[in-house]
Symmetry: C2
Subunit: 421 residues, 2 copies
């Protein structure tokens, strides 16, 4: 049974490779035509999608899924139109494939270029939201990759309906349907088979909670990119404008609490603690945020005392850990010890403090006098994103089209041979 | 005992992190001063190095190491001067750290830049040659990284002498000695502890044979870059100039047989087989190359019949697998089935054939009318290289200084918060 599943995943990967060999040669015109076909197909066949989604929602309610999960799973005509619009946006973006990254004529006359090429076969492992199915397929196609989608079993019918439409659109545009394939989702083992299919799969991107990411990283032999775990800090410096600080803390924490770029920890310089601690406590509490504070914060009404565990927790809820630090260096050390390398922000009017913080903090994104919420592919002008990488290899921060590519060196000579050294 | 070793490796990684936190802030001036100190130290203390090397050579002869391995292990005054010169070359290269990769002012006024930053703590696992110890330390330092070196036990004394000199030079330049550390080399387990030190080590580069690379990729939880396994092909097209073809095949195969960019396979288009097969057979045999051929090649005197295994073998010796193909597409399929994604060459006068080959072959480097031997960091103008990546993630082909870096997004605002969507 498990061997069958392994063979199923490997067979899908082999079909993906055949498709990838065609997609690598596809022109931008053809890829964009397929993206527009996909968008049109989603709109024309929205009933199919919503009927399938209704089945998933029914099964989800029967299985006792939380209201939050059901909300993330639910599609309606407007949401389907939104993902179709997303595909049209991707069609409007430049083709990353073929971009010349570096190039020169070498001293011996060899003409050398480094060009962007697709990764080849990319696997995505993700959780409930069916819109990720379409977003990932669109970005993979535009960057010339074949994609293997391993979604959540709770979205099984929705994903199947969406992928059927996407595959039809590929064929209508003269591209191989196997450029987009859905993997079996009922058995955890299909994830394992995907991430150990070395040689068959070029890259796997897990998108989900820390548990999924860790499992993938532990077991994978295929290269992977860790995404989306964020214990983001806002540090309010001695030289902060406290109005700005309040605004940035509130926006970072409360704009959306369930996303990876939300702030989970607040660090306040001792020099402004007397004024800022009561003020931000009241402001956060007015937004129904529970504060898990150190001794100083715990003196305020309604603040819970933080445990050691709080400093490393990604709450993804209306909670924040908060403490006072004696210096910028102590803030940097706290972040190094507890941060997840996602996004860290400083609020300060002191340019030297800002320079030191941005140079020393080791994270995908560092904000000066700006909310952590800005770490996002669309905000950064990438047009779309497939996830936010928190690792240092290959891609760091929001991943757009170019992060789904590799490169190739091409040299043209006229009979060049290398002398013995 | 094993737990002790694990703790030893982890303790070294923690010291490396402390050093890395200083190195990330080191100016180019200071790093270059340290590189020059290193070069001067190697020249001044060459006797220490050669005495230590003599011990390794003696132990190697006693252990029955092959003459080839002993040659790779041996140092003399000229070789030490060569590695010192290599450090001076690295000092002359631009500092990759701080380079702005992308940047713009976003529509909301946020000033956004993506800048190169060091990886942090980099591990190197490599085999006999002690010059790699110095090369890797120099490149790691220039790119702002702390490095953990896990060399071969056969080079134990040489590596210890070299690292002592490098560490003294770091201190003399006001940088932390722990930026360069040697890990215990007597137990295979130290490799395992290094590649599973997730969170402590940012990147591990294994440099060696397929066995080492596979073991590292299978077991690693730290990101790794596969390097240096090359089953490189030369494809002689129907439209090849056969003089050029002979020159390129001979140079690719015989210039140096023990290196990863040497050709291991020859593919000849059927249209030129009658003329080229006898000719290249004689030319290769004149260079004492053993041909493992298909039916057509096997009709020539002295050609051994190839087995299926030959097509996938990296000989690293005076052997070459050779067959006739019916078309460029068959050559591309053969390379896809048997190649290692290192370097593939086409010899042709037909520009369409060259375009098709370069677009379809999936490898780190593709040569048109040039020897496979050109895939090399120095040849590509990188000044130095730490290995040749054959994976698609992060770095592909020769890895120089910029391949040892990651990036960081930095955004400066003036109280920017993100509106709810």
């Amino acid at each position: 049974m498990t061997d069958d599943l392994r063979e199923q995943v490997h067979a899908a990967a082999r079909r993906a490779r055949v498709a990838a060999d065609e997609l690598v040669l596809a022109t931008r015109e053809r890829k964009d035509a397929a993206l527009h076909e996909m968008a049109a197909g989603l709109r024309a066949r929205v009933r199919e999608v919503l009927d399938a989604n209704a089945k998933d929602l029914e099964a989800g309610r029967a299985a006792g899924l939380s209201q939050g999960l059901l909300d993330r799973l639910a599609l309606d005509e407007k949401r389907v139109d939104g993902v179709a619009k997303g595909l049209e946006t991707v069609a409007g973006l430049a083709d990353p494939v073929g971009e010349v990254l570096r190039g020169s004529i070498l001293p011996n006359g060899l003409e050398l270029r480094q060009v962007r090429v697709p990764m080849g076969v990319v696997g995505m492992v993700y959780e409930a939201r069916p819109n990720v199915t379409v977003d990932a397929a669109g970005l993979a196609l535009k960057s010339g990759n074949a994609v293997l989608l391993r979604g959540s079993s709770s979205a099984e019918h929705s994903n199947a309906a969406l992928v059927a439409i996407l595959r039809d659109a590929l064929e209508a545009a003269g591209l191989p349907a196997d450029g987009v394939q859905l993997l079996p989702c009922h058995d955890r083992a299909s994830v394992r088979h995907l991430i150990t299919a070395r040689g068959l799969v070029d890259l796997v991107i897990p998108r989900g909670g820390a548990g999924l990411i860790n499992a993938v990283v532990e077991q994978a032999t295929v290269p992977t990119i860790e995404t989306g775990v964020g214990n983001c800090h806002v540090y309010v410096d001695a030289a902060a404008d406290l109005d700005v600080a309040e605004r940035i803390v509130l926006n970072s924490k409360t704009r959306r609490t369930s996303v990876c770029n939300a702030a989970e920890s607040l660090l306040v310089h001792a020099a402004v603690a007397d004024e800022f601690v009561p003020r931000i406590t009241a402001a956060l509490q007015a937004h129904r945020v529970t504060i898990h504070g150190d001794d100083v914060f715990a003196r305020q009404d309604g603040v819970e005392r933080a445990t050691e565990e709080d400093w490393g927790t990604e709450y993804l809820s209306s909670d924040i850990a908060a403490r006072v630090v004696d210096s910028l260096d102590e803030a940097v050390r706290h972040i190094a010890a507890h941060g997840s390398g996602h996004t860290e922000a400083i609020v300060t009017g002191d340019v030297n403090a800002a320079r030191r913080f941005t140079a020393r903090v080791d994270a995908a994104a560092v904000m000066v006098n700006a909310s952590t919420a800005f770490t996002d592919g669309a905000e950064f002008g990438m047009g779309a994103e497939i996830g936010i990488s928190t690792q240092k290899l290959h891609a760091r921060g929001p991943m757009g089209l170019s992060e789904l590519t590799s490169s190739k060196w091409i040299a043209w000579g006229e009979g060049h041979v290398r002398p013995s050294s």
